[in-house]
Subunit: 337 residues, 2 copies
């Protein structure tokens, strides 16, 4: 590919500038996304429409000039195959339905997500510019959706389930881990150059609960994947300052962290490649501020650190495209010397 | 006083069991609180009604048997004196109004909060059982209310103000720090045995923003107070795993932390007395679970650590009194040997 900056950064090879991509870079903040989205009534059918999903995936390369494409999909996509009905209610977010009995969940059939692998293949074919990132939710983040049945503000149901139905919780985590293992390997087979696991809600967990109920599954899943493939794996986890010493113990190639950690300190403490961690709210500020905060972050990265620029969380629908573009350009304009 | 367990724990003297009190221990979850609250129409006038505030402050000693009384008040109370109008809208939380010009804020007059000192004196007089804790918001947490004008879910206004009106933000932090310095000293003069500073919203800040915009003021405020008095000072800060290495550098006697840190690890890394950090959601669980999680925490505290049991955040209105009582009894039943 013409621009393999991301892969070189992950291998800690010399790079002239830091690679940049953004979580949820193809999303509602982008007019071209909204236009394509309007062609399907339902969000899930939009994800499954290979032609549209490929187009959406490519938008950030075309419009922002990022250094990686993450395929357009949703972390809830593999759940249908194990027997969890997923629906997206406009303006309300996901609704999940299942029997509530962990023992009734089905064994995952990776072929149920054939459309995802096809999206990856087609995105690879459609361009030879940049690496393609496949992704999945991490076991806990998926478990929390399954248990809550929707988005949550406090994850109370999940926590009570975890503490009081420990056997079922662990069984659910095992089922999800097995599902994700097979799902991720299929994405790699289809041509994903990098994969990312999203643990988007771990910031709601105590350090002790993460360590006891979540981390063993994440570590096992990551290590199992890495025992089968050299494809780089990125582990994104919220509440990063609380869990980074644990995350380091996995075989993940890259730790993608939120703004709770000081990247310049972590770079010294840590020999993993780091990704992140600009606070997304910076994008609501003036260009001058965006530039200041971005350069401040980039200047803090020690020279030999493998590093990929990203935000500490995904882009939000109410962000302005021009500012996102300005951010990407600011990172691309920063020279490492 | 008959039970000085809290003070002995802070001095790291030998104790037979860990002291326990709970943030927002006198609050809406308690029927007796709601009965007293009903006697005043407005929340602020409730705070200013010395007789009622004293009664409310005493409730947790009488009904829960905690080892400390925290006076009943609100962190927004000192703001009126500097020219910020504070109002509480039923079911909506605080509404703050001011000119928006930092230069127009007035110099704090501690006598405007004479009712607070009177509450402290009266609570001291009303009982000789346990120590009395005075408190205030920390400068950033108050600044965030002043800037947002209400509670916030993302503190976007505060962040933009901080980044883009840096001069004004720092001026505001100075005014609040000076206010809090005088307010806290007056509480100590009135007889507070311990004081606690609440930085309840720092978890919304990036590590770097906390370090640059918040920590210098907190450190200066704490150290200034401690240069004038031996009264123990507790610093409570959310997002604890992100900032604890900084908080350690202050002269605070006690660090009160949320559930993002592993207390047993921190106790080893840290020679400050620790307070916290049970996740409050545990109180929605069954008694069996409450007991398990509490004992797990207590068993993790190394023997020589100065430690005060508390939650990682305040009690919520929808918690059950009986479970709160059960929690307190569980802690009191745990023997250190």
């Amino acid at each position: 590919m013409k621009n393999d900056l991301l892969l070189r950064a992950i291998r800690k090879e010399p790079i002239e500038r830091f690679p940049v991509w953004l979580m949820r870079q193809a999303g509602r903040y982008m007019r071209e996304y909204r236009d394509l989205r309007a062609r399907e009534e339902n969000f899930l059918s939009f994800c499954k429409n290979v032609e549209l999903a490929v187009k959406v995936s490519l938008l950030p390369l075309e419009l922002l000039g990022v250094d990686a494409i993450i395929i357009f999909s949703d972390i809830l996509v593999p759940l249908e195959s194990i027997g969890v009905k997923v629906d997206f209610v406009e303006g309300e977010g996901p609704r999940l339905e299942w029997s509530g009995k962990v023992s009734e969940l089905k064994r995952y059939n990776p072929e149920d997500n054939a459309f995802v692998y096809e999206i990856i293949r087609n995105v690879k074919e459609a361009q030879d510019e940049v690496p393609v990132i496949g992704f999945a939710g991490a076991p806990f983040t998926l478990a929390s959706y399954v248990i809550e049945g929707s988005s949550s503000r406090d994850f109370r149901k999940t926590k009570l389930f975890m503490w009081e139905r420990e056997y079922d919780f662990k069984k659910l985590m095992e089922i999800l881990s097995e599902t994700l293992y097979r799902y991720i390997l299929k994405q790699i087979e289809a041509g994903a150059d990098v994969v990312q696991l999203f643990d988007s809600w771990t910031n709601y967990l105590s350090r002790n609960d993460y360590e006891e109920y979540v981390f063993p599954y994440v570590r096992e899943l990551i290590n199992r994947i890495k025992s089968k493939t050299d494809t780089p794996l990125i582990y994104f986890f919220k509440g990063s300052s609380s869990f980074i010493d644990l995350a380091k113990q996995t075989q993940a190639d890259v730790l993608s962290v939120d703004w709770s950690v000081d990247l310049s300190l972590e770079a010294v403490r840590n020999d993993k490649v780091l990704q992140g961690n600009l606070e997304p709210s910076v994008l609501y500020a003036k260009e001058e501020t965006i530039k200041f905060k971005t350069l401040e972050l980039l200047n803090g990265i020690p020279r030999k650190t493998g590093y990929i620029f990203n935000l500490g969380h995904g882009l939000a629908p109410d962000m302005e495209f021009d500012k996102v573009k300005f951010l990407v350009d600011t990172v691309k304009g920063f020279r490492i010397n």
